[in-house]
């Protein structure tokens, strides 16, 4: 690149070939170096969390720390589940995230179908309203929601939290699924209905199966954001035994409770694990969904 044509043309052709070869090689080398840097920047902090979770505390706190554990151990995980309420929180989050996902999928699939197939004027308004709800910062909602649930006697209850999660996730579901339904040709339903199916049967038996990729990516998206949700849980739930995963683990941080970094790192690994597994096995669906829905940060 730095070589101008003028000097190059005066060189013998073999040296010229050699130089251009060298230049290409350097160019490739630089690209691979950058690639390595980008991958390390993304992965090393996570790798460090995992490595520290299987190190005994004596090694983590040692003055001369090694990168890899000398005596790898699962002790941190055992402590995490035996001594803390982590297992309970994990169960709460798994349950609530599953329920939320099912509710959101059912509600938003039916509504998104109706919005993609019928053209009533007030559906436009509905579309705009869901977009607005989708953009709404949770921190703005949480104080009024606290009062609302308080008056409904649903504060500090999983049902209240489930309703809040569902109400705030439905707009995302609608947004992601509507584009899927719009892409499914209307002829499919016409054929089914000519064969005697009712409209709802046509939706249920013909259209929904067509929308599986969209349903899967929406479902996983809703599950992961609910699984890791912090703000609503930390405000709307206040008994430690009912707490959700992120809000529960955050109490470890706030009480100068950190008696073992190893245990905290084990918690980090356990929270991330389901998300990483989903990603590893369903990458195709997820990336298609993230791209088209352009969802969330």
């Amino acid at each position: 690149m730095g070589l101008s044509l003028g000097t190059a043309s005066r060189l013998p052709s073999t040296r010229l070939a050699y130089l251009s070869h060298l230049r290409k090689f350097l160019h490739r080398f630089l690209l691979y170096l950058l690639l390595l840097l980008a991958v390390s920047w993304a992965v090393l902090p996570l790798l460090w969390v995992f490595i520290s979770s299987i190190k005994p505390d004596s090694e983590t706190y040692a003055f001369h720390q090694t990168f890899l554990p000398i005596h790898p151990t699962l002790q941190n995980y055992i402590t995490l589940f035996k001594v803390t309420r982590f297992g309970l929180w994990m169960r709460n989050s798994a349950l609530l995230a599953t329920e939320t996902t099912i509710l959101v999928l059912a509600l938003s699939a039916t509504a998104a179908y109706a919005m993609s197939r019928f053209r009533y004027r007030y559906f436009e308004l509905l579309g705009r309203m869901t977009l607005m709800a989708y953009m709404m910062p949770p921190i703005v909602l949480v104080i009024p929601l606290f009062f609302l649930l308080f008056h409904m006697k649903l504060i500090n209850s999983h049902i209240g939290l489930l309703l809040v999660y569902t109400g705030t996730r439905v707009p995302v579901g609608l947004w992601m699924l509507r584009s899927y339904f719009q892409g499914i040709p209307i002829d499919l339903e016409e054929a089914a209905m000519t064969d005697g199916a009712t409209r709802f049967q046509a939706f249920y038996k013909v259209i929904l199966p067509q929308a599986y990729p969209g349903l899967i990516s929406t479902g996983i998206f809703v599950f992961s954001v609910t699984w890791q949700e912090f703000l609503f849980a930390s405000i709307l739930i206040f008994s430690a035994s009912k707490q959700m995963l992120s809000a529960g683990v955050a109490t470890f941080l706030s009480e100068d409770w950190i008696y073992s970094w190893g245990v905290l790192m084990a918690a980090g690994v356990m929270i991330s694990l389901p998300l990483v597994l989903f990603y590893a096995f369903l990458q195709r669906y997820l990336i298609a969904g993230w791209g088209s829905g352009a969802v969330k940060g």
């Binding site: 690209l31 460090w48 703005v140 439905v170 890791q228």
Partner: protein, 313 residues
């Protein structure tokens, strides 16, 4: 309710056989939409309106009694230097995080678009930080930056750059810098994801025609790739700006707004006012101002987006 033209399904075959259950399209549509609609109204739209309404009231924290006090909350807020500092920190947080993650993301997506060995594996791995939940992000970076056993301090000492460990999260300024770094780390993959998808559909004919005309790689990037990316760039920047601005969990969990309010952005300020200072009215007023800012930003981006699309045509 008037019905806009839509392709009727019942026109060319007998109505009785298809709609034997005698449910009209209109009723069905209504039935299908209303449960979702109800939940969205009660748990998202209504709270927002209540919040706006409450910003004009004095709210007693203990009894939750409300007394109308006009714009007193807003005046109180605009006189507090904590509000202005939080606003400034919000701007610093949003602008630096968004700009740097965009530039990094653009670079990485162009790199991952090259024909390199192991490209697919690298694509998969580069996206990992995006999956990390906020609480884990905070655990990770607190651990790395810890003054006694954190790997960052140890590395700096091994290289002889510092002589004793530094409590990076104990200083307001460096704490903010590291929250910004953590934010960049987590969300750069999102930019990569968006741009890479668009890069894969760049019209190859255009690039080749430009190459035949003797355009260099910079010129191709400047005059072909970049304009092609522009609409996605605007959307990506819009989404990142909005989501970084409203981001609560990462910033809060990193250092709980401290030290000395050093990481208190607007959302963290709302949390502080409402739940620590018991100032519910001013918290509601801050929320209202935040919504106003969000609206202004999105409006600006929409104008820019229309422009970028127009240029492409």
């Amino acid at each position: 309710m008037s019905k806009l033209p839509f392709r009727s399904l019942s026109s060319d075959h007998s109505v009785s056989s298809v709609f034997s259950l005698a449910i009209s399209d209109y009723l069905l549509a209504l039935l299908m939409v209303s449960p979702a609609l109800l939940l969205v109204i009660v748990f998202a739209i209504l709270p927002m309106l209540v919040g706006l309404y409450a910003s004009f009231f004095h709210i007693e924290a203990a009894t939750l009694k409300m007394h109308f006090n006009g714009i007193t909350n807003y005046r109180w807020l605009l006189k507090k230097s904590l509000f202005w500092q939080s606003l400034l920190r919000s701007f610093i947080w949003v602008i630096s995080t968004t700009v740097i993650q965009f530039l990094l993301g653009l670079g990485i997506s162009l790199l991952l678009h090259q024909e390199l060995k192991g490209r697919n594996l690298a694509r998969g791995m580069v996206l990992f930080p995006y999956l990390v939940p906020a609480v884990v992000l905070s655990l990770t970076w607190r651990f790395i930056l810890d003054p006694t056993m954190g790997v960052f301090n140890r590395m700096l000492m091994d290289f002889g750059l510092i002589h004793r460990p530094i409590a990076f999260l104990g200083n307001p300024r460096s704490a903010l810098i590291f929250v910004i770094i953590a934010g960049i780390w987590k969300y750069t993959p999102f930019v990569v994801l968006m741009l890479l998808a668009r890069l894969q559909v760049v019209p190859v004919e255009l690039e080749e025609a430009a190459k035949l005309d003797g355009a260099g790689s910079w010129q191709i990037f400047r005059y072909i790739t970049l304009p092609w990316l522009m609409p996605v760039v605007v959307v990506t920047l819009l989404l990142r700006t909005i989501w970084t601005f409203r981001q609560f969990d990462i910033v809060y969990l990193f250092a709980f707004g401290g030290p000395l309010f050093g990481t208190t952005t607007l959302p963290v300020l709302i949390h502080y006012l409402a739940f620590d200072a018991q100032q519910l009215g001013p918290a509601a007023a801050t929320s209202a101002l935040m919504l106003l800012l969000l609206l202004a930003v999105s409006w600006g981006y929409f104008a820019w987006y229309a422009q970028a699309e127009e240029k492409l045509l």
